[in-house]
Symmetry: C2
Subunit: 339 residues, 2 copies
Amino acid sequence: MKRSNTTITDIAEKLGVSPSTVSRALHDHPAISDKTKKAVVRLARKLDYQPNLLALNLLQKKTNTIGVVVPEITSYFFSSIINGIQDLVNPMGVNMVIGQSNESYKEEKKIIQTFRAINVDGFLISPSSKTKKFDHLLAIKENNIPLVIFDRDCEGVEADKVFVDEYSGAFQAVEHLIKTGCRRIAHIAGPPTLSTARHRLKAYKNALEKHKIKVDDDYILTCKGFTPKHGIAPTKQLLGLEKCPDAIFAINDGVAIGAMYVIKEAGVKIPGQISIIGFDDDPHSSYFKPSLSTVWQPTYEMGMLSARLLMKKVNAKSHDPKIRVESLFPELIIRGSSF
Amino acid sequence: MKRSNTTITDIAEKLGVSPSTVSRALHDHPAISDKTKKAVVRLARKLDYQPNLLALNLLQKKTNTIGVVVPEITSYFFSSIINGIQDLVNPMGVNMVIGQSNESYKEEKKIIQTFRAINVDGFLISPSSKTKKFDHLLAIKENNIPLVIFDRDCEGVEADKVFVDEYSGAFQAVEHLIKTGCRRIAHIAGPPTLSTARHRLKAYKNALEKHKIKVDDDYILTCKGFTPKHGIAPTKQLLGLEKCPDAIFAINDGVAIGAMYVIKEAGVKIPGQISIIGFDDDPHSSYFKPSLSTVWQPTYEMGMLSARLLMKKVNAKSHDPKIRVESLFPELIIRGSSF
DNA sequence: CTGTTAGCGCTTTCAG
DNA sequence: CTGAAAGCGCTAACAG
C-alpha cells in the first residue's frame, strides 16, 4: 500500500465534477445540492481522502503551528508549562514546535529565526537568563507575529505577558520564616538578569525590612543554575559564616535540595538549626526528609493562559494592538523543612 | 514594518529576469552566468529574501519536521531523550513536534493521526503502557513513512528500534544486592505491558535463580506509575509482610524514592535493614539521604541514535526495507542506599 | 447550483 | 545561459 494521496481532483474526476464542487461539498458550503454533496462525501470517505494541509498552509500563509521557546525542558517547571500549552492548543488543531535555548541568547535567537522560517503562527517565549538584548523579540513584534512572553519578563518589550506573582510568593515565604522565629535568614538568589530572581530578592529584602531585620549582604548569594548541584557551593559558604544563618530561602526547589543535602551532611538539623524553603514545588520535594517547604506555582495554568492569549491574537481578524498582562497566584506550602 | 514577504518573483521583476533564473542563481545552479548570479544574490540579501518553506513543502511533499511521540515529557527520562533527538535533528534543519500520549492508547493514536495529517517526514515513537494493538504503527509502516521505535518495544512491528539493554542493567542491579548479602529481595515491577518492565522482571528472576535464591511471588508487586507516590502502597505492603524483604529493586528511581520515604518513615534503616536500588538515575537521586543506588541509562544517546536512524531513512533515496535494531548499555551506579 | 480561472511561491522540464 | 510553462493541492472570486 502506498502513501494514500487521494486529492480533491481525484475524486472530482471520478465523479465527473469540478474540483471546486468537491471542495464546496467537503466544506458544507451553502450553494451545493444535497445530492452531489452526499456523493462527494461518500466517495471521499471511501477513498480515505485527507486534505493536504501543506497546500492549505501555502494558500493561507498559516501553519497552525506555534513556536514555544523555553530555556530547557528537563525541569518539571517548564515541562509542566508545556503540558498546559499543549492541552490548550491541541484541541484547536494546532501543533507546537519546541525550542530550548539552554539559557543562551545566541541559541534563543537562532531558534526564533528557524521558527520564523517555518512560518509559525505565533510565539510563546520564556527568555534565557542571558538574554539582555531584545532585538529578536522586537523583530517578531515588528513583523506582526503574535507573541506572548511568559514567566520571565523582558522589560521594554511590549507584548502580551503572563507571570506568576513571584513577589507575593517570595514575601510569604520569607515572612513565614520570620514568623517561625528565624532572624538570620539567607537567600540563595538566581541570576539578576532574571525578572523572577529580582522579584524574589526584592520580596526577601522587603519582608526583612518590614520586620525590622537588617539585610545582611553576607547572607545573599547568587547561584549559577537551578539544579541541586548549584546549591552546594553557596550553602557551604553560608555554613562557613561566622554567624551561620538560621534559615535559607532558596531561589527554587532544585537549589534548596542541594542546600539540604549539604546541611544534613554537616550534621546540622533541619529545621531547628536551619529552616529551608524553596520555590516551584518540584514533585520530588515532598519525599525528602524533612520534606521541603516551598512555594507552589501554577505552571500548568500559566501554560494554558499564555497559549490562550496567543491563540486569541493568532485568530484575531485584525491586528489588535491591545496588550494584556496577566498575573497568577502562587501558594505557600509548609512542609517539614520549616516550622 | 510588515511581515517581509520578498518572493523570488519580486526580485526577478526588479532585475528584469525570470523567476527561474533567480531560483537558479540562489541555488548555485551550474548553468548561470556569474554576473546575473551575483546581482541576484546581492539583491536577495538586500531585500532580506527568505525562501518560503511552505511553498517548498508543497512542492516536495516534505516538511522537514519529524513527529516525536512519548508517554510524557515531565520525567527526566523522556525529556533528556528529547534533548538528544533535538540536538541531532536541529543542525540538519529539521524540527520536531512532540506529542504526549499520557500512557493512553487512544491519545497515542490520535497524535499519530494528527502528525500524519501535518505530513511529518517520520516518526519517533515510544509507545504508551496501554498500547497492545499496533494498528496505528503498522499503518505508518504501510504508508512507507519512516518510523523508529525507542525504549519500549512493540513486538510484531517491524521497524528500526533502539533500546537500552534493560536486562543487563537489571541483572547487574539484583546481583549487586545479592553479592552484598541480601537474600529476601523484592521487586516493585512496572506494568507487564511494557517490554522494559518485563525485561527487568525477568532479569530479577534469573539473577535470583542463578544464585539459588527462591523466587517468591509475595516479593513481586506491580506499581501503577513511575512517580514517588506510586511507590508508596507497594512498599507499605512489603513492609507488612511476615518476612520483610531485606532489599527492594524498584522499576525506576521515582518509585524507589517513594519506597525510601515509606521505609524511613517506618524507622527502618537503609541500607542495613533494607537496601534499595532504582533505575534511570534521576538527577535528584544522589541528593537523598541515603543517596539512591540506581542503573543509569544513556537517554540522551538513545535520543540521538534513534533520530540518526530515522533521518537516515528519511533521507534515503529509495525505500530501504532493511531494519536495524540497536542496543545501548546501561551502567550500575552504587550509592548510599545499598552496600 | 456548478464550472472556469487564477494564484499561493517555488522548482523543473523543455525550448530556445 | 535564460525564459516560458506547468504543476504541487487547494480555495475563492467570477461567471454562468
